[in-house]
Symmetry: C2
Subunit: 392 residues, 2 copies
C-alpha cells in the first residue's frame, strides 16, 4: 500500500511592544492588545505568574494589575489568585513549581483560548512559558520581561525550559508567545550585575552580525555602565530586533545544528554549571565571548585591534573576564565542555568564532591546548585590568 505523505505549515506571528509604566491606567498597550480577543460567547481568562525577586521591589504591583484589568480589560477574567514563584535559576530547578503552575491552570479553568501572563526575569519566563506550552497542549503566553537580558534576548524569542536532574534546560519546547511587553521602567530596580549581564547578549549579537551596532555600544559604553535609560532603551530595542530577525530568517525551531546565537556560549554554559549558577548567564557569556575572541586571535583569525576593542568594551562595562573555575582541574572541565557541546549538537561540533567585528564564521574544531592557553591569557587580561582599575 502506498505510503501517505503528510506536509503542512504552521504560521506564527507576535509583536514585541516597548513601553513605560505598563500597568498605569493611562497606558493602553495591554488594553489595545486584548481588543483583538473579544469574540462574543467566549469568556477568556488570564492567569498571572510573577517573579518574587522582582515583585519584592513593587509592593503595589498586584493591586495595580488588578485595577488595570478591571478598568481597562474587563472582558478578560483574571484568575482570582496571582501566582508567585521564586526568581532566578531556583524557579527552573524545582519541579514542584512546574506542578504548581499546571495545577493553577487546571483549578482556574485556563483553557487554550485563555492567557498565561509571565512577569519576571528570563528564568521565571522560561518556567512559565514551559508550563503554558504543555498545559492543554499550549495556552496563549504573554511575556512581560523584567531584566535587560529577558527584554533583549530570551523574552522575545521562542524557547522555554526548565532544568531536570541538574541538566540545564533539559525539558522545554519551542513555543512562540502571542505578545511581549517590554516595560523600561521595570528595569530600575535591577542591581548592577543584572543590568550589566544583559548587555553581554547585545555585544554578542553585534559582534557576529552588526559592526555598527558594536561601534554604537563602544561609543556609549560609559553611559550604559552608568545606567543611562535612553541608551539602554535603544540597546534593548536593537538587540531584540536582531534576535527576532535572526529567528524568523533562519531556523526558528533549530532543526539544524547551526547556532550562531550561541556565540560565546559553549564555555558560558560550562562556567554557569561549574559555579552552580552563581555566575549569571550574561556574565558567563561575557567571559565566553572574551575566551573565544582570544582563541580566534591565537589562531590568526581575528585581528589584534579588534580583539582589544572587544576586551575594552567588556572591561569598561565592569565585566570580570576570568573566573578561577575556568582553570580548575587543570582545565579538564573546559575540555569536557567542548565535548558536551559537541554531543549536544549531535556529534558534530559547530562553533561560531569571530573573523572581524560584525562577522562570525562557523568552525567545526577547537584545539583544546589552545583553549587552555587562551584561558591563561584571560587570567592575565583580568589581572592587568584590575591593576588598571586600582591605578585609576
Amino acid at each position: 500500500m502506498q505510503p501517505i505523505k503528510q506536509k503542512f505549515q504552521i504560521e506564527y506571528t507576535y509583536s514585541v511592544f516597548f513601553t513605560r509604566n505598563l500597568f498605569e491606567i493611562s497606558n493602553t498597550s495591554l488594553k489595545d492588545f486584548f481588543l483583538d480577543y473579544q469574540e462574543l460567547g467566549f469568556q477568556r481568562k488570564a492567569l498571572i505568574v510573577i517573579d518574587q525577586g522582582f515583585s519584592a521591589f513593587y509592593p503595589q504591583l498586584e493591586k495595580q494589575i488588578k485595577l488595570y484589568f478591571k478598568q481597562a480589560v474587563p472582558h478578560i477574567q483574571l484568575a482570582p489568585e496571582i501566582i508567585y514563584v521564586p526568581g532566578g535559576e531556583a524557579s527552573k530547578n524545582d519541579p514542584v513549581l512546574f506542578d504548581k503552575l499546571a495545577e493553577a491552570v487546571d483549578i482556574y479553568g485556563i483553557d487554550r483560548h485563555s492567557f498565561v501572563i509571565g512577569i519576571g526575569g528570563g528564568a521565571v519566563l522560561d518556567l512559565v512559558g514551559y508550563a503554558a506550552a504543555v498545559s492543554h497542549r499550549g495556552i496563549k503566553l504573554i511575556r512581560i520581561p523584567t531584566t535587560v537580558l529577558s527584554q533583549n534576548d530570551s523574552g522575545v524569542g521562542v524557547k522555554n525550559g526548565i532544568n531536570f536532574h541538574g541538566k540545564k534546560n533539559f525539558l522545554g519546547t519551542f513555543a512562540p508567545p502571542v505578545a511581549v511587553f517590554n516595560d523600561l521602567t521595570l528595569l530600575n530596580s535591577l542591581d548592577d550585575r543584572d543590568w550589566r549581564a544583559g548587555i553581554a547578549e547585545a555585544i554578542k549579537v553585534a559582534l557576529i552580525k552588526d559592526a555598527r551596532f558594536f561601534e554604537w555600544i563602544e561609543q556609549n559604553v560609559v553611559s550604559l555602565a552608568n545606567r543611562d535609560e535612553t541608551n539602554m532603551a535603544y540597546l534593548i530595542h536593537r538587540c531584540a530586533e536582531m534576535h527576532t530577525d535572526h529567528i524568523a530568517g533562519g531556523d526558528p525551531f533549530e532543526f539544524g545544528s547551526s547556532r550562531p546565537l550561541d556565540f560565546g556560549h559553549w564555555a558560558a554554559h560550562k562556567l554557569e554549571f561549574l559555579t552552580n549558577f552563581e555566575v549569571r548567564h550574561g556574565e558567563a557569556v561575557a567571559i565566553g565571548i572574551a575566551l573565544d575572541c582570544i582563541y580566534a586571535r591565537r589562531i590568526g583569525m581575528l585581528a589584534e585591534n579588534d580583539l582589544n576593542r572587544i576586551l575594552d568594551v567588556l572591561t569598561a562595562l565592569g565585566f570580570d573576564l576570568y573566573h578561577p573555575k575556568l582553570s580548575e582541574n587543570d582545565k579538564i572541565n573546559l575540555r569536557n565542555g567542548i565535548q558536551e557541546f559537541r554531543e549536544h549538537l549531535g556529534g558534530r561540533l559547530t562553533i561560531m568564532l569571530l573573523e572581524e567585528i560584525g562577522k562570525g564564521v562557523e568552525v567545526h574544531e577547537l584545539d583544546a591546548d589552545l583553549i587552555s592557553l587562551s584561558v591563561d591569557d584571560l587570567e592575565n587580561v583580568q589581572l592587568h585590568s584590575a591593576g588598571a582599575k586600582v591605578s585609576q
Copy 2:
C-alpha cells in the same frame, strides 16, 4: 519605540508507511528511511520504548530488533537498553514513567539529531511522544503503532499527551513524528475488543466526511468483525489518509475551536472517565456516535434511515451502545460532560452533529433534556439488539 513584528512559518513533513513484518531483515522500510540520516560526522542514536502489553505476545521481538539494526541500519547506534512501559492508560497516568523516559534520553545521550522510537498502542505512543517532544525541546520521533486505533488515528496524527492529576491529556504538545510505520501483522495479537475499538474512529471519520467509505464499511461489516486482514488493511489506510488530510487541510495545531474529528467524542470522554477507563476509547466513541446520532434524529436533523444504518453497523461490529454509567446520578454527569467540553473549548460550545451520512455540521448548543431522552433511546436500542443477538 516601534513594536517589533515577528512572523515565520514552520514546515512539517512526514510519511506513514504500510508494511508487514517490519523487523524481518528482508523488509527494507526502516532501512530505507534511515538512509536519509547518514551525514558524515554525526553519530545518530536511537532509543526504543515498547508497550509491555504488546511485547508480551512477541518474546523474540527485542532480539529481532537488535539484529535488524545491527545488520540493516548499522549507522544508527541503538541505546544499550530497550525501555518497557506498561500498556494502556496506566502509561499515561503514572508520572514516574515520564521521568524514566526523560532519564533514559539523558543517560543514553539521545540528542536532537537522534531518534526515539515508540512501539505500542495509542496510550504508550502518547507518553513516548510527549517525553520525546519536551526532552531537549524535541527529539525526532518514530511511531510504530500496534493497535487498530493507533494505526488509523492517533499514531498518524500530531498530538501527544499524558494525564495529570486524573485529567486526561492535560499535559501534551503538538509534535509531528518524523515517520510512522504501520505493520499489519502486529495486529494479530490484539484481542477482539481492541480490534473492534479502532474501527469506531474509521466510522467516525466516514460519517462526517465520506459516505462512500461508510458504505464500504457497511458492506464489509461481517468480514471486519471476523478479523479479515485485507479489509482491515484497507480500512486503516483510508482512515489514516482521511485523518492526515484533515490535519494538513485544516488547523493542524488546533488554534481555533472547531474540532470536527471530535465527532462523538464529548460523551465518549466523559464515559471513559466515569468508567475509570475500563471502557476503551474506541468503545466509548462508538457509544458517543450513537448518542449524538440519536440526538440529531430527535431534533429532526438526521433521517431515520441514516440513523438505523449507523446503529446497525455499530451493532454488527459487536459494540455495546449503552453503558449504565450514562444514566448514573440522573444523567447529571452527562450534563456536566457538555459543560466541561464547553469550558475545554473556551466557553463556546462547538459540537459536530450529523446531517446525513458523510456530512457533519457544527452546532453551538445541545439541549440537556433531549440528551437525556437520547440516552434512554440508547438503552432501548441496546436491550433490543441484545435480544436480537440472543434470538439469532
